[in-house]
Symmetry: C2
Subunit: 187 residues, 2 copies
DNA sequence: CGTTTCATGTAAGTGGTTACATGATTTC
DNA sequence: GAAATCATGTAACCACTTACATGAAACG
Protein backbone atom coordinates (compact mmCIF):
# COMPACT_ATOMS: atom_id res chain seq x y z
CA UNK A 1 0.00 0.00 0.00
CA UNK A 2 1.51 3.25 -1.07
CA UNK A 3 2.33 6.17 1.15
CA UNK A 4 -0.20 8.44 -0.50
CA UNK A 5 -3.16 6.24 0.37
CA UNK A 6 -1.84 5.81 3.87
CA UNK A 7 -1.67 9.58 4.26
CA UNK A 8 -5.17 10.03 2.98
CA UNK A 9 -6.33 7.51 5.51
CA UNK A 10 -4.59 9.36 8.31
CA UNK A 11 -6.21 12.59 7.19
CA UNK A 12 -9.61 10.94 7.26
CA UNK A 13 -8.90 9.89 10.83
CA UNK A 14 -8.42 13.49 11.73
CA UNK A 15 -4.77 14.24 11.28
CA UNK A 16 -3.91 17.63 9.98
CA UNK A 17 -0.21 18.11 9.27
CA UNK A 18 2.61 15.99 7.98
CA UNK A 19 4.01 15.97 11.46
CA UNK A 20 0.76 14.64 12.89
CA UNK A 21 0.78 11.85 10.36
CA UNK A 22 4.37 11.05 11.11
CA UNK A 23 3.54 10.76 14.80
CA UNK A 24 0.59 8.56 14.15
CA UNK A 25 2.83 6.22 12.22
CA UNK A 26 5.34 6.14 15.01
CA UNK A 27 2.61 5.27 17.46
CA UNK A 28 -0.40 3.15 16.66
CA UNK A 29 -0.30 2.92 12.88
CA UNK A 30 3.34 2.10 12.64
CA UNK A 31 2.79 -1.19 14.30
CA UNK A 32 1.37 -2.63 11.18
CA UNK A 33 2.32 -0.29 8.39
CA UNK A 34 5.70 1.04 7.40
CA UNK A 35 6.31 4.53 6.18
CA UNK A 36 9.49 6.56 6.18
CA UNK A 37 8.93 10.04 7.63
CA UNK A 38 10.49 11.81 4.69
CA UNK A 39 8.12 10.01 2.38
CA UNK A 40 5.15 11.59 4.06
CA UNK A 41 5.91 15.17 3.07
CA UNK A 42 6.65 14.04 -0.42
CA UNK A 43 3.38 12.15 -0.62
CA UNK A 44 1.44 15.09 0.75
CA UNK A 45 2.88 17.38 -1.88
CA UNK A 46 2.11 14.89 -4.60
CA UNK A 47 -1.44 14.62 -3.32
CA UNK A 48 -1.76 18.36 -3.36
CA UNK A 49 -0.65 18.73 -6.96
CA UNK A 50 -3.01 15.92 -7.86
CA UNK A 51 -5.86 17.80 -6.21
CA UNK A 52 -6.53 15.09 -3.67
CA UNK A 53 -5.83 17.29 -0.68
CA UNK A 54 -6.03 20.98 0.05
CA UNK A 55 -3.39 22.74 2.10
CA UNK A 56 -3.60 25.83 4.22
CA UNK A 57 -0.64 27.51 5.82
CA UNK A 58 -0.78 28.29 9.49
CA UNK A 59 1.53 30.95 10.83
CA UNK A 60 2.78 30.21 14.28
CA UNK A 61 4.88 32.22 16.65
CA UNK A 62 7.33 30.45 18.88
CA UNK A 63 7.31 27.37 16.73
CA UNK A 64 7.62 26.49 13.06
CA UNK A 65 4.76 27.27 10.77
CA UNK A 66 2.70 24.38 9.67
CA UNK A 67 0.70 23.23 6.73
CA UNK A 68 -2.70 21.77 7.45
CA UNK A 69 -4.10 19.30 4.98
CA UNK A 70 -7.65 18.34 4.22
CA UNK A 71 -8.80 15.73 1.70
CA UNK A 72 -10.85 17.03 -1.21
CA UNK A 73 -13.89 15.10 -2.45
CA UNK A 74 -11.68 13.81 -5.24
CA UNK A 75 -9.19 12.67 -2.65
CA UNK A 76 -11.85 10.87 -0.69
CA UNK A 77 -13.02 9.12 -3.82
CA UNK A 78 -9.47 8.15 -4.67
CA UNK A 79 -9.03 6.76 -1.20
CA UNK A 80 -12.17 4.67 -1.40
CA UNK A 81 -11.11 3.39 -4.78
CA UNK A 82 -7.71 2.44 -3.44
CA UNK A 83 -9.29 0.70 -0.45
CA UNK A 84 -11.59 -1.29 -2.67
CA UNK A 85 -8.79 -2.35 -4.97
CA UNK A 86 -6.10 -3.15 -2.45
CA UNK A 87 -5.66 -6.86 -1.87
CA UNK A 88 -6.15 -7.48 1.84
CA UNK A 89 -2.74 -8.91 2.63
CA UNK A 90 -1.82 -9.76 6.17
CA UNK A 91 1.54 -10.96 7.25
CA UNK A 92 3.80 -10.92 10.21
CA UNK A 93 6.81 -9.27 8.71
CA UNK A 94 9.44 -10.22 11.19
CA UNK A 95 13.17 -10.22 11.24
CA UNK A 96 12.85 -11.21 14.85
CA UNK A 97 11.33 -14.54 13.90
CA UNK A 98 13.95 -15.02 11.24
CA UNK A 99 16.60 -14.46 13.86
CA UNK A 100 14.93 -16.90 16.21
CA UNK A 101 14.75 -19.53 13.51
CA UNK A 102 18.50 -19.47 13.52
CA UNK A 103 18.84 -18.98 17.24
CA UNK A 104 21.63 -21.54 17.45
CA UNK A 105 23.83 -19.37 15.26
CA UNK A 106 23.46 -16.23 17.33
CA UNK A 107 24.93 -15.26 20.66
CA UNK A 108 22.53 -15.99 23.53
CA UNK A 109 22.93 -12.38 24.63
CA UNK A 110 21.55 -11.13 21.33
CA UNK A 111 18.61 -13.48 21.56
CA UNK A 112 17.97 -12.38 25.10
CA UNK A 113 18.14 -8.71 24.13
CA UNK A 114 15.87 -9.15 21.16
CA UNK A 115 13.31 -10.98 23.22
CA UNK A 116 13.43 -8.46 26.03
CA UNK A 117 13.15 -5.58 23.66
CA UNK A 118 10.17 -7.06 21.92
CA UNK A 119 8.28 -7.96 25.06
CA UNK A 120 8.94 -4.44 26.29
CA UNK A 121 7.51 -2.98 23.12
CA UNK A 122 4.53 -5.26 23.34
CA UNK A 123 3.61 -4.32 26.90
CA UNK A 124 3.96 -0.64 26.07
CA UNK A 125 1.73 -0.98 23.02
CA UNK A 126 -0.79 -3.00 24.95
CA UNK A 127 -1.05 -0.36 27.63
CA UNK A 128 -1.31 2.36 25.06
CA UNK A 129 -4.02 0.63 23.09
CA UNK A 130 -5.89 -0.22 26.23
CA UNK A 131 -5.83 3.41 27.29
CA UNK A 132 -6.97 4.56 23.86
CA UNK A 133 -9.91 2.17 23.92
CA UNK A 134 -11.03 3.49 27.25
CA UNK A 135 -10.60 7.15 26.40
CA UNK A 136 -11.46 7.52 22.76
CA UNK A 137 -12.66 4.07 21.86
CA UNK A 138 -16.24 4.88 22.61
CA UNK A 139 -16.52 7.62 20.05
CA UNK A 140 -14.38 5.95 17.42
CA UNK A 141 -15.89 4.28 14.37
CA UNK A 142 -16.44 0.54 14.77
CA UNK A 143 -13.73 -0.42 12.30
CA UNK A 144 -11.11 1.37 14.32
CA UNK A 145 -12.34 -0.14 17.53
CA UNK A 146 -12.34 -3.59 15.99
CA UNK A 147 -8.74 -3.27 14.92
CA UNK A 148 -7.71 -2.00 18.33
CA UNK A 149 -9.40 -4.92 20.06
CA UNK A 150 -8.01 -7.41 17.60
CA UNK A 151 -4.57 -5.92 18.03
CA UNK A 152 -4.86 -6.27 21.78
CA UNK A 153 -5.82 -9.91 21.45
CA UNK A 154 -2.86 -10.64 19.23
CA UNK A 155 -0.33 -8.73 21.24
CA UNK A 156 -1.45 -10.41 24.41
CA UNK A 157 -1.23 -13.79 22.73
CA UNK A 158 2.28 -12.98 21.56
CA UNK A 159 3.38 -11.95 25.01
CA UNK A 160 1.93 -15.02 26.58
CA UNK A 161 3.42 -17.36 24.03
CA UNK A 162 6.84 -15.76 24.29
CA UNK A 163 6.85 -15.97 28.03
CA UNK A 164 5.71 -19.54 28.04
CA UNK A 165 8.09 -20.79 25.38
CA UNK A 166 11.05 -18.59 25.94
CA UNK A 167 12.85 -21.19 27.98
CA UNK A 168 12.84 -23.54 24.99
CA UNK A 169 15.30 -21.21 23.33
CA UNK A 170 17.43 -20.33 26.27
CA UNK A 171 18.07 -23.87 27.33
CA UNK A 172 20.81 -24.89 24.99
CA UNK A 173 19.83 -28.13 23.30
CA UNK A 174 21.04 -30.96 25.57
CA UNK A 175 24.01 -32.26 23.64
CA UNK A 176 23.37 -32.85 20.04
CA UNK A 177 23.54 -29.36 18.67
CA UNK A 178 26.00 -26.85 19.99
CA UNK A 179 26.50 -23.93 17.69
CA UNK A 180 27.20 -25.08 14.15
CA UNK A 181 30.17 -27.33 13.92
CA UNK A 182 29.47 -28.73 10.48
CA UNK A 183 26.55 -27.44 8.66
CA UNK A 184 26.69 -28.90 5.23
CA UNK A 185 24.58 -31.92 6.06
CA UNK A 186 21.57 -30.04 7.37
CA UNK A 187 19.51 -30.77 4.31
CA UNK B 1 16.36 -7.83 5.49
CA UNK B 2 17.75 -8.25 2.03
CA UNK B 3 17.01 -11.06 -0.34
CA UNK B 4 20.57 -12.34 -0.30
CA UNK B 5 20.60 -13.02 3.42
CA UNK B 6 17.19 -14.61 3.16
CA UNK B 7 18.46 -16.92 0.44
CA UNK B 8 21.51 -17.87 2.47
CA UNK B 9 19.20 -18.72 5.33
CA UNK B 10 17.08 -20.91 3.11
CA UNK B 11 20.19 -22.70 1.88
CA UNK B 12 21.25 -23.33 5.46
CA UNK B 13 17.86 -24.88 6.06
CA UNK B 14 18.54 -27.32 3.30
CA UNK B 15 17.21 -25.79 0.12
CA UNK B 16 19.19 -26.40 -2.98
CA UNK B 17 17.91 -24.53 -6.01
CA UNK B 18 16.34 -21.17 -6.67
CA UNK B 19 13.11 -22.94 -7.30
CA UNK B 20 13.26 -24.66 -3.92
CA UNK B 21 13.81 -21.34 -2.23
CA UNK B 22 10.97 -19.78 -4.14
CA UNK B 23 8.68 -22.55 -2.96
CA UNK B 24 9.78 -22.20 0.60
CA UNK B 25 8.87 -18.54 0.43
CA UNK B 26 5.49 -19.31 -0.97
CA UNK B 27 4.89 -21.75 1.85
CA UNK B 28 6.15 -21.35 5.37
CA UNK B 29 8.68 -18.57 5.06
CA UNK B 30 6.48 -16.29 3.08
CA UNK B 31 4.18 -15.85 5.97
CA UNK B 32 6.57 -13.49 7.60
CA UNK B 33 9.03 -12.46 4.97
CA UNK B 34 8.46 -10.99 1.56
CA UNK B 35 10.52 -11.81 -1.46
CA UNK B 36 9.69 -11.52 -5.13
CA UNK B 37 10.52 -14.73 -7.01
CA UNK B 38 12.53 -12.97 -9.65
CA UNK B 39 14.70 -11.46 -6.97
CA UNK B 40 15.81 -14.85 -5.81
CA UNK B 41 17.69 -15.82 -8.94
CA UNK B 42 19.28 -12.44 -9.05
CA UNK B 43 20.35 -12.73 -5.42
CA UNK B 44 21.73 -16.20 -5.96
CA UNK B 45 23.84 -15.02 -8.86
CA UNK B 46 25.11 -12.08 -6.87
CA UNK B 47 26.00 -14.41 -4.03
CA UNK B 48 27.87 -16.64 -6.42
CA UNK B 49 29.98 -13.85 -7.85
CA UNK B 50 30.67 -12.70 -4.32
CA UNK B 51 31.87 -16.18 -3.45
CA UNK B 52 29.22 -16.73 -0.80
CA UNK B 53 27.67 -19.72 -2.52
CA UNK B 54 28.90 -22.40 -4.87
CA UNK B 55 26.79 -23.62 -7.74
CA UNK B 56 26.76 -26.92 -9.51
CA UNK B 57 24.77 -27.65 -12.61
CA UNK B 58 22.56 -30.71 -12.67
CA UNK B 59 21.55 -32.06 -16.04
CA UNK B 60 18.06 -33.45 -16.10
CA UNK B 61 16.13 -35.24 -18.76
CA UNK B 62 12.46 -34.59 -19.10
CA UNK B 63 12.62 -31.40 -17.13
CA UNK B 64 14.71 -28.25 -17.06
CA UNK B 65 18.24 -28.45 -15.79
CA UNK B 66 18.83 -27.01 -12.41
CA UNK B 67 21.49 -25.24 -10.49
CA UNK B 68 22.16 -26.45 -6.99
CA UNK B 69 23.60 -23.98 -4.53
CA UNK B 70 25.64 -24.52 -1.41
CA UNK B 71 26.92 -21.84 0.93
CA UNK B 72 30.69 -21.47 1.16
CA UNK B 73 32.40 -20.89 4.52
CA UNK B 74 32.59 -17.23 3.55
CA UNK B 75 28.87 -17.27 2.86
CA UNK B 76 28.15 -18.81 6.22
CA UNK B 77 30.26 -16.17 7.90
CA UNK B 78 28.48 -13.44 5.97
CA UNK B 79 25.16 -14.86 7.01
CA UNK B 80 26.10 -14.98 10.67
CA UNK B 81 27.35 -11.42 10.46
CA UNK B 82 24.12 -10.29 8.86
CA UNK B 83 22.09 -12.08 11.51
CA UNK B 84 24.06 -10.45 14.29
CA UNK B 85 23.67 -7.00 12.77
CA UNK B 86 20.05 -7.10 11.72
CA UNK B 87 17.76 -5.22 14.06
CA UNK B 88 15.12 -7.65 15.25
CA UNK B 89 12.07 -5.87 13.93
CA UNK B 90 8.67 -7.43 14.27
CA UNK B 91 5.52 -6.00 12.88
CA UNK B 92 2.20 -7.09 11.57
CA UNK B 93 2.32 -5.66 8.12
CA UNK B 94 -1.30 -5.68 7.21
CA UNK B 95 -3.38 -4.08 4.56
CA UNK B 96 -6.20 -6.18 5.89
CA UNK B 97 -6.17 -4.32 9.18
CA UNK B 98 -5.95 -1.03 7.35
CA UNK B 99 -9.00 -2.01 5.38
CA UNK B 100 -10.84 -3.01 8.52
CA UNK B 101 -10.00 0.28 10.18
CA UNK B 102 -12.05 1.90 7.46
CA UNK B 103 -14.65 -0.83 7.30
CA UNK B 104 -17.46 1.71 7.13
CA UNK B 105 -16.16 2.98 3.81
CA UNK B 106 -16.01 -0.39 2.13
CA UNK B 107 -18.75 -2.62 0.79
CA UNK B 108 -19.79 -5.27 3.31
CA UNK B 109 -19.17 -7.89 0.66
CA UNK B 110 -15.52 -6.91 0.39
CA UNK B 111 -15.13 -7.05 4.15
CA UNK B 112 -16.78 -10.43 4.21
CA UNK B 113 -14.55 -11.72 1.44
CA UNK B 114 -11.41 -10.41 3.02
CA UNK B 115 -12.27 -11.96 6.34
CA UNK B 116 -13.19 -15.29 4.82
CA UNK B 117 -10.08 -15.37 2.74
CA UNK B 118 -7.89 -14.65 5.69
CA UNK B 119 -9.47 -17.16 8.00
CA UNK B 120 -9.13 -19.71 5.23
CA UNK B 121 -5.45 -18.94 4.86
CA UNK B 122 -4.99 -19.16 8.59
CA UNK B 123 -6.58 -22.54 8.98
CA UNK B 124 -4.56 -23.89 6.08
CA UNK B 125 -1.33 -22.58 7.54
CA UNK B 126 -2.20 -23.90 10.96
CA UNK B 127 -2.79 -27.37 9.60
CA UNK B 128 0.39 -27.23 7.58
CA UNK B 129 2.49 -26.07 10.49
CA UNK B 130 0.93 -28.62 12.77
CA UNK B 131 1.75 -31.36 10.32
CA UNK B 132 5.31 -30.13 9.92
CA UNK B 133 5.83 -30.14 13.67
CA UNK B 134 4.66 -33.70 13.92
CA UNK B 135 6.65 -34.97 10.97
CA UNK B 136 9.86 -33.03 10.92
CA UNK B 137 9.63 -30.99 14.05
CA UNK B 138 11.42 -33.56 16.13
CA UNK B 139 14.61 -33.44 14.12
CA UNK B 140 14.54 -29.72 13.47
CA UNK B 141 16.80 -27.32 15.35
CA UNK B 142 15.18 -25.73 18.40
CA UNK B 143 15.00 -22.27 16.87
CA UNK B 144 12.94 -23.53 13.99
CA UNK B 145 10.65 -25.46 16.29
CA UNK B 146 10.23 -22.45 18.52
CA UNK B 147 9.14 -20.28 15.63
CA UNK B 148 6.72 -22.91 14.41
CA UNK B 149 5.14 -23.22 17.82
CA UNK B 150 5.02 -19.48 18.30
CA UNK B 151 3.48 -19.10 14.87
CA UNK B 152 0.83 -21.64 15.75
CA UNK B 153 -0.02 -19.80 18.93
CA UNK B 154 -0.40 -16.52 17.10
CA UNK B 155 -2.37 -17.88 14.20
CA UNK B 156 -4.74 -19.63 16.54
CA UNK B 157 -5.17 -16.46 18.54
CA UNK B 158 -5.92 -14.55 15.36
CA UNK B 159 -8.50 -17.05 14.25
CA UNK B 160 -10.19 -17.07 17.60
CA UNK B 161 -10.24 -13.31 17.89
CA UNK B 162 -11.58 -12.89 14.38
CA UNK B 163 -14.33 -15.37 14.95
CA UNK B 164 -15.32 -13.87 18.24
CA UNK B 165 -15.28 -10.24 17.13
CA UNK B 166 -16.34 -10.59 13.55
CA UNK B 167 -19.92 -9.71 14.30
CA UNK B 168 -18.84 -6.32 15.60
CA UNK B 169 -17.98 -5.41 12.06
CA UNK B 170 -20.83 -7.01 10.26
CA UNK B 171 -23.51 -5.40 12.32
CA UNK B 172 -23.74 -2.04 10.67
CA UNK B 173 -23.48 0.68 13.28
CA UNK B 174 -27.01 1.36 14.55
CA UNK B 175 -27.89 4.48 12.60
CA UNK B 176 -25.19 7.02 12.36
CA UNK B 177 -22.96 5.60 9.69
CA UNK B 178 -24.27 3.61 6.75
CA UNK B 179 -21.47 2.92 4.30
CA UNK B 180 -20.69 5.70 1.89
CA UNK B 181 -23.45 5.96 -0.65
CA UNK B 182 -21.45 8.04 -3.12
CA UNK B 183 -18.87 5.55 -4.18
CA UNK B 184 -19.14 6.04 -7.90
CA UNK B 185 -15.91 4.41 -8.93
CA UNK B 186 -15.03 0.85 -8.35
CA UNK B 187 -16.96 -0.05 -5.27
C1' DC C 1 23.31 23.55 29.03
C1' DG C 2 21.86 19.38 26.44
C1' DT C 3 18.20 17.00 24.51
C1' DT C 4 13.65 16.40 22.92
C1' DT C 5 9.73 18.34 20.51
C1' DC C 6 7.92 20.79 16.85
C1' DA C 7 8.00 21.17 11.72
C1' DT C 8 9.30 20.59 6.90
C1' DG C 9 11.76 19.34 3.56
C1' DT C 10 15.95 17.88 -0.39
C1' DA C 11 19.15 14.66 -2.69
C1' DA C 12 21.04 10.54 -3.97
C1' DG C 13 20.92 5.85 -4.64
C1' DT C 14 19.05 1.24 -5.16
C1' DG C 15 16.69 -2.80 -4.00
C1' DG C 16 12.70 -4.78 -5.21
C1' DT C 17 8.49 -5.32 -7.94
C1' DT C 18 6.16 -6.00 -12.31
C1' DA C 19 6.03 -7.74 -16.52
C1' DC C 20 7.88 -10.53 -19.91
C1' DA C 21 10.20 -14.80 -22.05
C1' DT C 22 10.84 -19.97 -22.68
C1' DG C 23 9.59 -24.75 -22.91
C1' DA C 24 9.09 -29.67 -21.84
C1' DT C 25 6.21 -32.71 -18.97
C1' DT C 26 2.81 -34.26 -16.10
C1' DT C 27 -1.84 -33.92 -14.51
C1' DC C 28 -6.86 -33.08 -15.01
C1' DG D 1 -6.57 -30.06 -24.96
C1' DA D 2 -5.78 -26.82 -20.94
C1' DA D 3 -3.47 -25.86 -16.93
C1' DA D 4 -0.20 -26.48 -13.53
C1' DT D 5 4.57 -27.89 -12.34
C1' DC D 6 9.32 -27.59 -12.96
C1' DA D 7 13.08 -24.27 -13.75
C1' DT D 8 15.59 -20.01 -14.72
C1' DG D 9 16.13 -15.86 -15.88
C1' DT D 10 16.11 -10.37 -18.16
C1' DA D 11 14.72 -5.47 -18.34
C1' DA D 12 12.94 -1.30 -16.73
C1' DC D 13 10.99 1.56 -13.72
C1' DC D 14 10.08 4.14 -9.44
C1' DA D 15 8.74 4.05 -4.68
C1' DC D 16 10.97 4.07 -0.82
C1' DT D 17 15.03 4.52 2.36
C1' DT D 18 19.01 6.85 4.21
C1' DA D 19 21.32 10.71 5.16
C1' DC D 20 21.48 15.45 5.42
C1' DA D 21 19.79 20.37 6.45
C1' DT D 22 17.55 23.96 9.44
C1' DG D 23 16.08 26.24 13.67
C1' DA D 24 13.40 27.96 17.57
C1' DA D 25 11.46 26.64 22.06
C1' DA D 26 10.47 23.94 25.85
C1' DC D 27 11.97 20.72 29.16
C1' DG D 28 14.90 18.64 32.65
Amino acid sequence: MDTKTLCLGALLLGDKTGYDIKKRFEESFGFFLDVAPSGIYRALNDLETAGDVEASLVQQTGRPNKKMFKPTPAGVAAFDRALAQTPARHRVHSELLFLLMFAERVSPAKIEDALNHHTGELTALIDQTDAWLKEEGGSAPPGLRFVARFGLDIMRAELESLERRRSDLERAPPEAQHANPDLEPVA
